[in-house]
């Protein structure tokens, strides 16, 4: 899509400079900024409480680092498929973009599936949110992250169906893959920090 066509379909955020920023992209980054505050606050508080209170290592030893590492691999791979979907859409390879969107959705569901297995195992062993401060943080942080993954899966699925029907590529909606990708990569970055915090330390 040419820049003139893009300008016709996308409102721009005038930064006062010669090069303006699509308002959709600025909006996504503002949303991510609010998410950084949420997860940043949680992670920072977790670190402080962990430093202040000993004995968390024993509680943390009951999480499965193997499942955590597997989930990290799944999420990192989903980031790859998401960016490949964007690359394909930008070069006019719409069917390829749709396939990669579907892969991203499936990998996201795989992540949630593995997380469900973890939760089931931990709850059966008696580790629930009230079992200790580590477990409170663990369930809050991974649960909130899981909700974000769910939201990303739903949006990516909507994009996939739009791609297969051809409606995604009309009306200047192709930017949606980029915006969804920014959100999905952010959720991946959050997990990149949650994994070592909760599973490796």
């Amino acid at each position: 899509m040419s820049n003139s066509t893009l300008a016709a379909h996308t409102a721009t955020f005038d930064t006062g400079s010669a090069a303006s920023l699509p308002s959709g992209k600025a909006g996504v980054w503002w949303f991510l900024a609010s998410e950084i505050m949420v997860f940043g606050g949680l992670i920072g508080t977790y670190i402080l409480f962990r430093v202040a209170h000993g004995g968390w290592a024993e509680q943390a030893s009951h999480v499965s680092w193997r499942l955590g590492a597997t989930n990290t691999l799944v999420l990192v791979t989903s980031s790859l498929t998401m960016i490949l979907a964007l690359n394909a859409s930008r070069t006019g390879r719409h069917q390829r973009a749709a396939h990669f969107l579907l892969l991203t959705v499936l990998l996201g569901l795989t992540f949630l599936g593995i997380k469900s297995i973890e939760y089931t195992r931990e709850i059966r062993e008696g580790f629930v949110p009230s079992s200790g401060m580590f477990w409170s943080f663990y369930y809050i942080m991974t649960g909130l992250h899981g909700l974000h993954i769910t939201g990303g899966i739903i949006f990516n699925a909507i994009l996939y169906f739009g791609a297969t029907r051809g409606t995604l590529w009309s009306g200047g909606h192709g930017n949606r893959i980029e915006f969804a990708g920014l959100y999905w990569h952010f959720v991946d970055v959050v997990w990149i920090f949650l994994f070592p915090l909760l599973y490796l330390s």
Binding site: W29, L32, G40, L80, I83, L84, G92, I192, P196
Partner: protein, 94 residues
């Protein structure tokens, strides 16, 4: 939408290979019998590198305008500030 891309598909796959290798290295640091402090430094250092790869190359932050950097950096600074002001209450106040 621009018809040009910042990276080729191969470049993105290469970054993924790096991310997977770093994941392996971080997990190895956890398993090896090295000092706790050294292990934590390696593990979180690797996490920072992985995050920067995703942010820089997948989110294309390296080619974004200054405004985006400001939007992304401001909450990081605020979150760090929040943690710092909580230190006296959480870490030292028992």
């Amino acid at each position: 939408m621009s018809s040009t891309t910042e990276h080729s598909d191969f470049d993105y796959v290469l970054i993924w290979v790096w991310l997977v290798a770093l994941l392996g290295a971080g997990t190895l640091a956890f398993l090896l019998p090295i000092g706790k402090g050294a292990a934590l430094a390696v593990i979180f250092g690797i996490a920072m590198v992985k995050a920067s790869l995703v942010v820089r190359d997948y989110m294309h932050l390296k080619s974004e305008r200054l405004l985006i950097y400001v939007i992304a950096a401001l909450p990081l600074i605020l979150a760090l500030g929040l943690a710092l002001v909580l230190i006296p209450d959480i870490v030292y106040h028992r």
